[in-house]
Each structure stands twice: as structure tokens, then as C-alpha cells.
């Protein structure tokens, strides 16, 4: 099911972020940068899976073009901008800024994930029905 697949991907991204934070707390800036880059790539890939495949399929099937998926795209933009600011802060060794922006980013990301997990993915699952497995395979095959 889409819900389980995408929820697991959310958690995988969260774990990477937590690891990057922990490395920075342990004053290991290089490790933090490496793991944060993985988080950056994984999160952007997750957004791409939704925007380039999942949402489009859902919109085609339901005809809902300006609805919830549009709101999620808008939130992706806000989150991309925050994550980019954090990457800059980390690369410039501005640790306080990294944690400062990170606090807002994490709350916003989790609110966004809650909306998707509680509302949007169940809607998509209902829409896709038996085709969900096929879509999941397409998402798995998307290049990172």
C-alpha cells in the first residue's frame, strides 16, 4: 500500500536527519555534513516521487488538480527552501543557525507528513485500489 511505503520513506528521512543532528552534537561536523547530504538527497527524492509520479497519477484518476496535492506541492517548496538554508548553514559552520532553522523545519516537515499519512495517502490508496503495487514499483524504480 502507498501509505506504508511512503510512511516508511518518511521515517527513513527522519532517521537520517536525527543522525546528522547527533553527529553535529558530537562535534563531528564532517560526518554531520555527509549524513545531512544523504537526508537532503533522500527528502528531495521523496518530494520528486510524489510530484513527478504519485500526485500526477492521483490527479489524473480523480480530476482533482487544485486540491490537496497542490497544497502539498506548496509545502514541498517551503521545506526545500528551509533544507537548502540548513545545508548552507552547515557548510559555513554556522551551527546555531543550523539548529535554529532545523527546529522550524522539523515541525513543519512533521506537520506535512502527518497530513499526508493521515489524509492524503489513504485517499490515494482508495483511488488506486489494486494498481497501488504497480505504482509502488514505479516509485522504487525512479532514479535518485
Amino acid at each position: 500500500m502507498i501509505l506504508e511505503f511512503m510512511r516508511d520513506d518518511h521515517r527513513a528521512c527522519d532517521h537520517l536527519y536525527a543522525e546528522a543532528e547527533s553527529a553535529l552534537l558530537a562535534k563531528d561536523a564532517e560526518k554531520a555534513k555527509t549524513i545531512f547530504d544523504q537526508f537532503y538527497t533522500a527528502t528531495n527524492h521523496h518530494f520528486d516521487m510524489e510530484e513527478k509520479e504519485l500526485f500526477i497519477t492521483f490527479e489524473k484518476r480523480t480530476g482533482m488538480m487544485g486540491g490537496p496535492t497542490q497544497m502539498m506541492r506548496y509545502e514541498h517548496q517551503q521545506l526545500r527552501s528551509l533544507i537548502e538554508s540548513m545545508r548552507l548553514a552547515l557548510n559555513e559552520n554556522r551551527t546555531n543557525d543550523f539548529f535554529g532553522i532545523g527546529e522550524s523545519m522539523m515541525i513543519m516537515l512533521q506537520q506535512h507528513n502527518m497530513k499526508e499519512e493521515q489524509m492524503l495517502y489513504p485517499m490515494i490508496d482508495r483511488t488506486l485500489g489494486g494498481d497501488a503495487e504497480l505504482i509502488i514499483q514505479t516509485l522504487r524504480d525512479m532514479p535518485i
Binding site: 521515517r11 527522519d14 532517521h15 536527519y17 536525527a18 543522525e19 543532528e21 547527533s22 552534537l25 480523480t62 482533482m64 486540491g67 490537496p68 497542490q70 497544497m71 509545502e75 517551503q78 546555531n96 543557525d97 539548529f99 535554529g100 532553522i101 527546529e103 522550524s104 522539523m106 515541525i107 513543519m108 512533521q110 506537520q111 507528513n113 502527518m114 497530513k115 493521515q118 489524509m119 492524503l120 489513504p122 485517499m123 482508495r126
Partner: protein, 421 residues
Amino acid sequence: MFEGLSLDQAPPISVVLRFFLSVPVFGIFLSVLMMLYPTQILTVNHPLSLAAIHLLFLGVITMSMIGALFQMQSVLGGRPIPAPLGNAFLIHILFSVGIFTLAGAFITQIAPLFVLAATLLGSGIVYTVFLIIPLLFKSSLHDTLRGMRLALISLFITALLGIVMADAYAEGNFSTFHEAIRATHYSFALIGWIGALIIAVAFQVVEMFYVATPYSDWCKHNVFRIIPAALILKTLWLFLALPYVWVFDLLLAALLMGFFTTTVRRLRERKRRVSDVSIWFWSIGMGLLFVSLIAYGGYLWNMEEVILQIAVIAYALFALSIILGMMGKIVPFLVWFHLSSAGYMDAPIMSHVIPLKRSQSLFGLFVLVCGTAVMSVLYPPLFILTGVFSFALFALLGYNLIQALKLYRYTLTHGTRFTLE
């Protein structure tokens, strides 16, 4: 079929802050009562004790929870509360005037005040429940939503029983069912309303914000079935005056002990190791829940009222702890979020809205309140000191909230806003 995902990200900031800003006002009023009448407040069923209890559970705890519900509804409920500005204004007025009137009624024992308080609070609660409940039934069903439904239905039942009791106080005529009504009233309030909402929020917050292991599916699916079943059966037992009513209390206490154990384990093993003040509040909150449950178990064993008082005080402080921890996150986030969403490039980051030192001071004061409150049950004059610390706690909370609001308004007026022009 596809109802359920809000296009609005959040209600206007004033909607939530209106409720949050009232919390320190009620808290300070409560603290003054604690300083002036410590012994009376610690006497079970004394009018001043009842005034203090309602200031705490309605003015501080429920007011915070209603404010948070306005915010949570658009995220977890899927459908935002319609006309948030007007509805928040109306509900807030009914609650604020109603709570002060009820406290005044208990203090002065003027009969018409009970009727007025029941009318205002009853209208406020019934209006709130009927505003939000239909939104929860039209959304996709998930466990947190079940918890929110249970909490609101429990609040509704609490209010109905409260109205019945207010009428009894106004007429000075207590029916033979008065004790059953009173026990049902506080059971639904403490467990059905406050407990269920905190558990529902914990299912989301602990796992997602602190990157912790999810609560078990069994726990998530069944907790909001067991709580109402136990509450309904307890009510029946109370009204039919059947024996062994304590079995249902024991069942609820065991459930909360399970919640305590699983939450503490998740907090301890969380992946995010950043130790912020909200984690401290969650941790001490869980400690207070443990104290409350152990004390309540002791009360069921030996029926000592002193132990019951410890249980009630620790339970109230458990709820307050979670609320203070969450408020310390929600308010800075909302200030940043609303400003940055409106295009203000110099929107302050969260740690600038409520500086760490002030958050830590708030936690320090809370610890002092907890320590002295529990000990004062054994030595009541100490409750004056609890009142002093509580006064400082709520004054600092008020200062934090006002400063956050001032920073928000200052940035609105003087900030640099990104526009396409």
C-alpha cells in the same frame, strides 16, 4: 469521498494565541488564591478548593487544549474549523467569562452566579463540541482522530454533568445521585477529556517530532475503545450503586501506566538526541503521571484522602507539564511560520522567539511548583510557597507569550517582505 485535506495550513495566529494568552491570567488568579487560602484549597470539597480546581482544569488546562485544538484540527483533523476568527472569539468569550463566573460562584456562594456560569460554560463547551465533532466524523479515520473524538465527547458529558451540579449548587438541593454525578463528572474530565487528548497527541508527537519508535498498533487501536468502555461501565456502576466500582478505576490506571511505560521507553530511546526543554517537560510530565497513578493505587487500597490529593495534584501537573512543553514549541513555530509564509524574510527563528534561558527558567519554576505542591499535602502551609512559585511561573509564561506576540507584530510592521514588485 475525497473530503479531508485542508487547503489552509493553519488558522490565523490570533486564534490560537487568544486562548494561550488567557492561560497565565487564570494561572495568576489561581496562584493568588493559593497564597491567600492554602489550607482551604487543600480541603476536599471546600468551596475555595472547588474554585481553584476549576480555575486549573478549565482556565489553564482546557483553555490551552482548546487553543491547541484549533491548530491541530487543520493538521490532524484534516478539515479546518470554519470561520476560525469568529468562532474562536465566541468560544473564548464564553469560556473566559464562564470560568471567572464559576470561580466567583464557588467563592461567594451566590446562587445566580452558578446558573450564569453553567449557561456560559455549557454554551461554550456545547458550541465547541458541535463545531468540531462533525469535522472529525467527515475525515479519514485514524487513531489520533479517534482520541480527539473521545476527548470532545467526554468534554461534552463533563459539561452536561457540570450543568446539573451547578443547578444543584444554585438551589442548594443535592439529589441522591449527587455523588454519582460528581464522580462521573471528574472521571470524564480527567480521563476522557484530558487523558485521551494527551494520549492522542503523544501518538503523533513522540514518534514524529522526536523520531522515536511508533506506539504499538494494538495500543493505538484499543486505547480509545477501552477508555470509553471503562468510563461508561463505571458510570453505570455508580448510578446503580453496584459494588466493586474501583475495578474500572484500576483498569484505567493500568492503561495509563501502560501509556507511561511505553512513552518513557520511546523518549529514552528516541533517535533525536537534541535535548530541548520540551523533552524535559515530557519527561517530568511522565514522572508526575507515575506518581499520580501510584498514589491513586494507594488511595484505592487504604482510602486516605491525603493520598487522593497527591494523586489529583500530580495528575493536574502532568497535564500542565505536557501543555507547557508543547506551548513552548507551538508559539515560536506559529510566529515563525505565519511571518515566513507571509513572505517576511527576517522572520525570527524559533529560538529567538522564546530564548532558551527563559524556557529553562520556566521549567525550573515548574519543578519548584511540583516539589512544593506535592509536599504541601503533608504540610499545608507550604502551599503558600507553591502559590508564590506558581505566580512566578504564570507571570513568566505570560511574559514569554506577550514578547512573542510583540516580536510578531514588530516584524509585521518593520520587517522586509518579499514581493514580486
